[in-house]
């Protein structure tokens, strides 16, 4: 009895604190801001897929609105304000560069919920952040890359030098190096999320250097299209399965599966259980999926890769497990130590063995 009273009091307090939202809603207007076109076949395509899963889950109880190709900067702030004025109850901003705009607009609309993908700023109670542990997928790609490369040169098309991207490069390299000590990694910085021409040029530059396994941290299928032109070069689907290249260079993929998170958050808003959070799920939570590994990969390598995936899912293996040194030789993780999340989220260094510098 006493316990129930306590809960009831707590619930009432919560209701008073957060107003109408604690009571749930009959209908939610969920809005999405995309950095590229839905047709990119990668990053934005997957976010839109997530939005469509929300629609499928709640039917008439949700209304979906979205805008493609919103530049990161002043324009984002206007688009967000228009959405908030237009009656959106929850707005998902799906690129890192929307961080300041999201927080600025959130301050003006305390009754609208904002969800910012891959950021870290939650300056107001109505801003949540969410991300996925893509580096887990990079570990599996690195393993395959180390085993499959014939030239011992592997490549990585990087977008921007932010921790998100750097941790992917490190994870990819560490796992390639583990199975192939001779492996060398070349990183090309494209300074874009979505620019098929630039992405293709980057892939071409890598291939010209003798690279035969290409990973990409950009949003389009252009790197795979470029790899397909050269016999013996393989690559990976990025953000989306990119299954169209299964008969070509794509040997596996990292699939961003945002649907479950979006369904959960909009659901929470509908039933009144919504709270501010900082979500970072990975393979275990189903946010990162590993696409089918094709027959180009030898059966034993495929089995090892799948075993790694299952170990990560079960929580028995962490891709960043010591001993790991930084590029300059100073120790980062001691024997058996796993990387704390804080280190990963602020990662601004290469691990030992990677040549070249992070652009500064």
């Amino acid at each position: 009895m006493k316990r129930r009273n306590l809960l009831a009091t707590a619930a009432m307090g919560l209701m008073l604190a957060s107003g109408a939202f604690a009571q749930g809603m009959d209908k939610v207007k969920a809005c999405f801001v995309y950095v590229g076109p839905i047709g990119d076949g990668g990053w934005t395509f997957q976010h839109h897929d997530g939005a469509m899963q929300v629609k499928a889950a709640y039917g008439d109880k949700v209304e979906i609105q979205y805008q493609e190709s919103v530049p990161e900067g002043a324009d984002a702030e206007r688009v967000l304000t228009q959405m908030a004025l237009g009656g959106c109850n929850i707005i998902f901003t799906t690129s890192f560069g929307y961080m300041d705009a999201t927080n600025a607009v959130a301050a003006k609309f305390p009754n609208v919920k904002f969800e910012h993908a891959t950021g870290f700023k939650r300056e107001h109670p109505n801003v949540s952040t969410y991300n996925a542990r893509f580096y887990e997928g990079r570990a599996i790609q690195g393993h395959i890359a180390g085993k499959m490369t014939k030239t011992n040169k592997i490549g990585y098309i990087a977008s921007f030098p932010i921790p998100e991207v750097i941790m992917g490069i490190n994870s990819y390299y560490l796992h390639a190096k583990k199975v192939n000590p001779d492996v060398q990694l070349s990183v090309v910085w494209a300074f874009t999320w979505f620019d098929p021409a630039k992405e293709a040029d980057s892939a071409k530059a890598l291939i010209d250097q003798g690279v035969d396994v290409i990973a990409a941290h950009t949003d389009s299928t252009a790197p795979l299209a470029e790899a397909a032109k050269v016999e013996g070069v393989i690559g990976f689907g990025q953000a989306s399965d990119m299954a169209a290249y299964k008969d070509g260079p794509r040997v596996t993929s990292i699939i961003d599966n945002w649907g479950p998170y979006y369904v959960k958050r909009v659901g929470a808003l509908l039933d009144g259980t919504y709270e501010q959070i900082d979500a970072w799920e990975g393979i275990a939570g189903g946010e990162v999926l590993i696409g089918e590994i094709t027959d180009k990969v030898p059966a034993d390598v495929k089995a090892e890769a799948e075993a790694m995936r299952d170990a990560i899912a079960a929580g028995t293996y962490h891709p960043f497990t010591g001993p790991i040194n930084k590029q300059d030789g100073s120790p980062w993780l001691a024997e058996g130590q796993t990387a704390p999340d804080g280190d990963l989220l602020g990662m601004n260094f290469y691990v030992e063995g990677i040549t070249g510098e992070i652009p500064k």
Partner: protein
């Protein structure tokens, strides 16, 4: 058979009639495009051209029109001076970026000092940054006769690389947890380009744009330099006989357009964009070329053209979100505007004649 015949003198009627005709043709062709996509064309056109100014959220969007039009007008006026004299600065985007970097650097160097002079000094530094960047193609042209179109365009890509360096290196926010991007100027009042009247969207950039438009109009119509610019464009040989030095004109026009673009960049990073980031530039320097021509290279026309262009952006966004149009359809729509403008523009210098017989 219809045949194009050159007019003895450009038609004054078509000079001024071209922009409105182009807008109407764009609406018609755009409407057909939207209808083919299964949307109600009247609703889309209304959302783009009417709603931002008179619709439900006009109180917010009118200000946003000013935010968007300000830098376009400022850059376009500078470009128009050069274009009139036959000097083609295509690299305003690079000058815009460099102005923003130099101006922001000055402000961030003295962070967190509070002093009234900081912002004005930053504006001057921004103008200097854009001017200096424009001087490269200008001097290469006057000294070595290089093509300023190519050089200024290529320098845009150099500027973008420097911008990437700035936001991941020397201007990176020391408290930003390693993420690229400078400090946000909204947290540094002395260097912030805040709204002058809350809710109007009017900041110093908008003021500068309107003042510059008036000054440029006076320069072109009342001042010796303005006369030389017009003469050099219309009759280069006559200009030389008249004692106009082509080299000085190149330096003057490139310098003015660079400085204005640089100022626009500084106003943008300290105001609406808030910070130097890898891609704070959203192509204003290129869009301003369209604005300059849409405004007939006339400062007052450019002000109108700037607002029209802003309308297609802000209204286009409304149409994209509220009516579910793909972003590409809006871009096509904006592209049509330039296409029809250039097409109709033929009538200024040519007229149609019925050709009789062969040859």
């Amino acid at each position: 058979m219809l045949r194009l015949e050159k007019r003895p003198t450009p038609s004054r009627f078509w000079l001024y009639a071209t922009p409105p005709v182009a807008v109407i043709l764009t609406m018609i062709a755009g409407g057909i495009l939207f209808a083919a996509m299964g949307k109600n064309p009247f609703e889309v056109i209304r959302t783009i051209f009417w709603d931002p100014v008179f619709g439900e959220f006009a109180f917010y969007l009118r200000g946003q029109l000013l935010v968007k039009a300000g830098p376009l007008i400022l850059i376009a006026i500078g470009l128009a001076l050069g274009f009139r004299a036959g000097i083609w600065n295509i690299g305003a985007e690079g000058q815009y970026i460099m102005g923003a970097i130099i101006g922001a650097s000055v402000g961030l160097a003295v962070f967190p000092t509070e002093n009234r002079l900081i912002f004005p000094v930053m504006v001057i530094a921004g103008a200097f940054g854009g001017w200096a960047w424009a001087m490269i193609p200008a001097i290469l042209k006057t000294r070595f006769n290089t093509n300023e179109i190519l050089v200024s365009l290529m320098l845009v890509y150099v500027a973008q690389t420097i911008l990437a360096k700035a936001s991941t290196g020397f201007l990176k926010n020391p408290e930003g947890m390693g993420f690229p991007g400078s400090r946000n100027f909204s947290s540094y009042p002395a260097a912030q380009n805040a709204e002058l009247i809350a809710g109007t969207g009017l900041h110093w950039g908008g003021v500068a744009a309107l003042v510059t438009a008036v000054l440029a109009w006076i320069l072109l119509t009342r001042h010796q330099a303005g006369f030389q610019i017009r003469l050099a464009g219309q009759a280069p040989r006559a200009a030389r006989f008249h004692g106009v030095s082509p080299a000085r004109l190149v330096v003057l026009c490139m310098g003015i357009s660079g400085a204005l673009a640089g100022m626009a960049g500084l106003f943008e990073v300290t105001g609406p964009a808030g910070q130097i980031s890898i891609d704070f530039n959203t192509g204003y320097g290129f869009t301003a070329i369209i604005v300059a021509f849409l405004g007939r290279l006339n400062p007052l026309g450019i002000v109108l053209a700037g607002f029209l262009m802003a309308l297609t952006y802000v209204g286009g966004e409304m149409a994209a979100t509220n009516l579910g149009l793909p972003a590409a359809a809006i871009q096509v729509f904006q592209g049509m505007l330039l296409f029809f403008l250039l097409a109709v523009d033929v009538l200024t210098n040519y007229r149609f004649r019925l050709a009789v017989g062969a040859h």
